[in-house]
Symmetry: C2
Subunit: 237 residues, 2 copies
DNA sequence: TGTACACAAATTGTATTCAATGCTAAAGCT
DNA sequence: AGCTTTAGCATTGAATACAATTTGTGTACA
C-alpha cells in the first residue's frame, strides 16, 4: 500500500479500543473531540459517533456537555470484577462447549497459537490483546446475546487489569502465565469434546489463577529486613 | 406548562425507549433518521446520537450505511433469554440483598406499589413498564457494573416478551400475575432482611413463573373439536 | 423469459458553521 | 483575606449543506 491513506471510522474505532485495552489511554483520561478529530483526520461529527459507540461498548464514558473520558476504574472495580467474572465466564464456557462449531474451534486454536507466541515475545501489550482475543472467540461460541454485553465488559477490564498488575521480571508471574496457557489448552480440549462441566470448571480455575496473580501484586511479600539494619526499627502507621 | 416546548434529546431517548419496550415500535422495525428527526423536532445530528446511544443500550441495531432498526427478536431469543435470565437475576438479587441501602429499599417498595396499581388498571403497557422499573431498582441495589449491561438487556426483552405473550382475557394469566406480585413482596422482604440465599432462590422462582406464563401462550391447550363437526376432516398442510 | 448492466432515487455518512454550555480567572463585595 | 459575581475563553451540542453509498427500477441483450 503506497502512502498512509485517511483512516476510516472503523480504523479509528479499532485504534481507540486498542489504546484503551493496553492502557496507553489510561482509565479516566480525558478525550478531547477536537484533538482526536485532528489526530485521525476526520471531522468531529463522525468522531463523536465513534465515541458514542465506544461508550455503548463500555470503553468510554460520556458526560453531558462535558466530553468523553476513558472508562474509569474505581477502588471497587477489582472486587466487582472477581465477583462477576467466574459466574459469567463459567456460563460462557459451558455454552461454548455446547454450541461450538468446527470453524470456531479452529479459530480458537489459532488464537491460542498467537497467545503462546506473545508469551515468548515478552510483549505484554501483545499478550493482553492475544488473551483478549482468545476469550472473545469463546464468547462467540457461546452465542448468547444476553451474556455477551457483560462478558465484553469483563474482557475490557480484564485486559486493563492485566496490564496494570504485571511484573515482567517476577519469575512467579512467568510461571503463572505458563499455567494460564496450559489452561487455555485444556479449555480448547473441553470445548472440542463438548464437555460442558469440564469447561465450566476450567473457567473457575482460570479466574482463580488470574486472581492469584493479582493478589501477588497487590499484597507482595514483605521486604526482607532483619533486626539491626540501618532502617528505623519502629514506625508509626 | 404552557404550550408543548421542543423536546430535548433526553426526552427523545426516553420516548423511544418507552415505545420499544411496549412494542409500539416492533422488533425489527426500520427507524428512519429523517422522519424521526422531523417527528421530534430536532435535526438529524443529535437524533443520530440518540440512535447510537440506544444501540449501545441494546434497544436498536445499527448497520453501516443501512440505518437503524429496533433490536430484532429471533427464534432463538426465548431460549437464550431463559438460559441467561435466572443466573444473572439470581446474582443481581443476591447482591441486592447484600448491598441494598435504605433509600433504595424505599424506592423498591414504591415501585411495587406502582406495579400493583398497574395490575388493577389492566393497562398491560403500564404493567410492563412498572415491572421493568421494579427490577431496574434491584439492579441498582446490586451495584455491580459488570452485571449491569447484561441485566439491562434482559430487562428490555423481558418487557417486550411480556407484551407479546399475554392474554388479558385468560383467568390463568391473571392468577399468574398475582403470584408474580406476591413474589415481588417476598423479594422486598428478603432484600430488607439481607437474606442473600432467599433472594437468589426467589429470582429462580420468579423466572420459572414467567416461563410458565409464556409456555401457556406458546403451547396452548388444543382446540376442542370432535369428530363430525362442520369443519373439513382432512387438510393439506 | 431470465439475467445483467446502468441509471435514478432515497437514505445514510461527513464536513462546516453557528449556538450554547461549562470552566477559569479576575474583579468587586462583605 | 475570603467569598461571590461576572466576563472571557474553551469545549461540546445542534443545524445545515454536501458527498457517498445502497437500493430499486428500467432497459437491453442473451
Amino acid at each position: 500500500m503506497a502512502g498512509t491513506s485517511k483512516p476510516t471510522k472503523t480504523d479509528v474505532l479499532d485504534a481507540l479500543r486498542h489504546l484503551i485495552l493496553v492502557q496507553e489511554l489510561a482509565p479516566g483520561a480525558d478525550l478531547d473531540e477536537a484533538s482526536l478529530a485532528a489526530r485521525y483526520q476526520l471531522s468531529r461529527t463522525p468522531l463523536r459517533d465513534v465515541l458514542r459507540q465506544l461508550a455503548g461498548e463500555g470503553y468510554v464514558e460520556i458526560r453531558e456537555n462535558r466530553g468523553a473520558r476513558v472508562a474509569a476504574m474505581s477502588h471497587t472495580t477489582l472486587r466487582d470484577f472477581f465477583l462477576a467474572a467466574p459466574m459469567v465466564y463459567g456460563a460462557i464456557l459451558r455454552l461454548a462447549a455446547r454450541n461450538a462449531r468446527p470453524l470456531q474451534i479452529a479459530a480458537l486454536k489459532e488464537a491460542q497459537k498467537t497467545f503462546r507466541a506473545s508469551l515468548r515475545s515478552g510483549d505484554i501489550a501483545a499478550r493482553a490483546l492475544a488473551n483478549n482475543h482468545f476469550h472473545d472467540v469463546t464468547g462467540q461460541m457461546a452465542a448468547n446475546i444476553y451474556l455477551q454485553p457483560s462478558f465484553q465488559r469483563l474482557l475490557i477490564d480484564h485486559a486493563r487489569i492485566s496490564m496494570t498488575f504485571f511484573r515482567p521480571a517476577d519469575p512467579e508471574m512467568a510461571e503463572n502465565l505458563d499455567k494460564a496457557s496450559q489452561q487455555h489448552d485444556a479449555i480448547i480440549a473441553a470445548i472440542e469434546a463438548g464437555d460442558e462441566a469440564a469447561a465450566a470448571a476450567l473457567a473457575i480455575d482460570h479466574w482463580n489463577l488470574s486472581r492469584d496473580r493479582i493478589e501477588q501484586f497487590v499484597m507482595p511479600a514483605a521486604l526482607d529486613m532483619t533486626l539491626g539494619d540501618a532502617a528505623p526499627q519502629t514506625r508509626t502507621l
